[in-house]
């Protein structure tokens, strides 16, 4: 089966198996959500000695990961995004980031993709809080090929890192030849009228919005950021200079995440008007994507409308 025909979590499990095959020090840590992460039975069966299920003990998982890392192991620790980030923020801060231990943290079902689990599980702040942590890299791959490339990068670099993992099957954007470098954003569409900045899951919807805008005669430039930290300043500033207006889209609180990174970068380097789309400082709820897009205004039609609105006032 080709990667883009698989669920992203299956790609996660399969890629972990490839990484373990190449380097037996790679470890798969789970906290009783291994089926949800796609590592059980995939990794559990093929490499039982590299598969450690710690039970419902996320704090323990992170610090055990640090202990393994200090001995040269490369642990990938997965749980739902809410538990992999905010629940264990202090363990990640001290045992991993402050100690600079080579632990990889994987937050599954990010943002609104937590759907049926609702407000308790719908984490809108992980990009913000992980980004605010020194020593930590923060990634949010958008499709199967990028996911595999990001994981391969994580396994070969001695660097604490946090990665969002969409669990479902998503459309193919990249291919086998995709190379990941956290220093660079990916220019998915070239355009001179407006800059759209996205990461992870929302890149798929932004691509649709770009097509819709094109039908209206508007050429949007779409910048996809697989790495929210480190953040590629150069590509954003160059695009802002060309278009003069920027719209950010993320399945996160608009405070502190991708939108925050974009605003910080532009205000210091090349101030232009920015519209942040995402969750306007609200908690999540049990709902369909469509409902949440409409409620918070960050679906395809809202991206299109925001770009049109911004263009009206653009003095460029």
């Amino acid at each position: 089966m080709l990667l883009h025909e698989m669920e992203m979590r299956a790609v996660y499990g399969q890629t972990l198996n490839e990484l373990i095959e190449e380097n037996p020090n790679v470890m798969c840590l789970e906290a009783d959500l291994s089926k949800a992460s796609g590592t059980n039975p995939c990794v559990a069966k093929k490499y039982p000695n590299n598969f450690i299920n710690v039970g419902v003990c996320e704090a323990n998982m992170i610090s055990i990961g640090a202990g393994l890392a200090v001995e040269g192991k490369i642990p990938f620790c997965a749980s739902f995004t809410c538990f992999a980030s905010r629940r264990v923020y202090d363990q990640i801060t001290i045992s991993v980031a402050y100690a600079n231990n080579n632990v990889k943290i994987v937050g599954t079902a990010p943002g609104i993709t937590a759907g049926p689990n609702g407000g308790t599980h719908m984490c809108f702040q992980d990009l913000a809080i992980m980004r605010a942590m020194p020593n930590m890299h923060v990634y949010s791959p958008t499709d199967s090929y990028e996911l595999r490339a990001v994981m391969r990068y994580m396994a070969k670099t001695r660097q604490p890192a946090y990665m969002q993992l969409i669990r479902s099957k998503v459309n193919k954007i990249f291919d086998e030849n995709y190379k990941f470098d956290p220093a660079w954003a990916v220019v998915l569409k070239k355009g001179k009228d407006v800059t759209i900045v996205t990461t992870g899951y929302m890149t798929h919807f932004a691509l649709e919005a770009v097509e819709e805008l094109l039908r209206k005669g508007i050429n949007a430039q779409l910048l996809h950021y697989p790495s929210v930290k480190p953040f590629d300043v150069e590509t954003l500033v160059a695009s802002a200079k060309e278009t003069g207006i920027v719209v950010t889209v993320e399945t996160q609180n608009i405070i502190g995440g991708l939108g925050g990174a974009v605003c910080e970068t532009l205000s210091e380097n090349y101030p232009v008007r920015v519209k942040r789309l995402g969750i306007p400082d609200k908690f999540g709820e049990v709902a369909t994507e469509e409902y949440l897009f409409n409620k918070h205004g960050f679906g395809v039609k809202h991206i299109v409308a925001a770009c049109m609105e911004m263009l009206k006032g653009n003095k460029k």
């Binding site: 000695n49 704090a59 610090s63 055990i64 202990g67 393994l68 192991k73 202090d90 100690a99 600079n100």
Partner: protein, 283 residues
């Protein structure tokens, strides 16, 4: 590195030196966690001088025994041991907490040679020790992993997550020691949050349990060796200790957790209240 012969007088003198140094460097720093460092002096000396395989000229030697000071605020007692063993010059000791120091108040694996794990946020070190022990099991290595936790630290839920995991994974290369000085920052443990019956708890969690007098050389040596010999489960040694041991001004008082030393007079007061005054400064 391991002392072949045990001479009680020699070790008593060493303990007195440790207590003088710990008190002096904390006073020089102007404040510090003295009580929980003084309670561990005999345990740390026994581990480093009589039990642990270490290589001060190669701090990351892969076959060394590890010590994870989960109660990371006890840095000063560990720094004294590491300096005495030659991991770094004793002249570093009075730089405790000074600007740019490599001896911070809480243990830091990236700052201090010989520190095996960064600690300081209570509850995490025992989990880290489980990870270190698990790595050794996976790699088929035979070294021992020691982990010192506090009694106040045992309030943390994560300690009990690690307790479950250590037993489940049969980490018999892990020997944990609880510095049971019966005091935490705000008062006596039995008044703040009682952890008794402590032995029963660890036994119920599947650990082999021991008790020892944490200030008695023979008892420490014998008990730690018994714990090392345990198979198929991790060990927990409850060490009965006295917080602030040896410093009359603060001994067995909650205030000993972190003292403030605003001036030279306070510095002198603490040094003079040490029970053993026959010490030479090594820095």
């Amino acid at each position: 590195m391991i002392k072949e012969k045990f001479d009680k007088n020699e070790f008593d003198k060493l303990a007195a030196e440790y207590r003088y140094i710990i008190t002096d460097i904390i006073c020089r720093a102007g404040s510090g966690h003295i009580g929980g460092a003084l309670s561990l002096v005999e345990i740390v000396i026994t581990l480093y001088d009589r039990i642990m395989k270490i290589a001060p000229d190669n701090p990351k030697w892969q076959y060394r025994d590890r010590l994870i000071m989960s109660k990371g605020h006890a840095g000063p007692v560990l720094y004294t041991a590491l300096a005495y063993k030659g991991f770094f010059p004793t002249s570093w000791l009075p730089t405790l907490n000074a600007d740019g120091t490599r001896l911070p108040s809480h243990c830091d694996q990236n700052q201090t040679p010989g520190i095996d794990m960064t600690t300081g946020s209570l509850g995490q070190g025992l989990s880290c020790a489980c990870g270190v022990a698990l790595a050794a099991k996976i790699d088929g290595k035979k070294h021992n992993i020691f982990c010192v936790i506090g009694d106040g630290e045992s309030n943390e839920g994560q300690i009990w997550e690690a307790a479950l995991f250590g037993a489940h994974r049969k980490l018999d290369n892990l020997v944990a020691i609880c510095d049971y000085n019966k005091l935490q920052i705000d008062g006596f443990t039995k008044e703040i949050l009682d952890i008794e019956p402590l032995m029963d708890k660890w036994r119920a969690f599947g650990w082999e349990t021991f008790e020892m007098d944490g200030h008695n050389w023979d008892d420490i040596y014998k008990t730690v060796n018994q714990a090392i010999a345990v198979k198929d489960k991790p060990s927990m040694i409850i060490a009965h200790t006295i917080k602030g041991k040896g410093c009359c001004e603060i001994e067995n008082k909650a205030e000993s957790h972190n003292i403030k030393v605003p001036d030279k007079a306070s510095h002198e007061k603490y040094l003079k209240s040490l029970k053993c005054q026959d010490n030479e400064l090594v820095y």
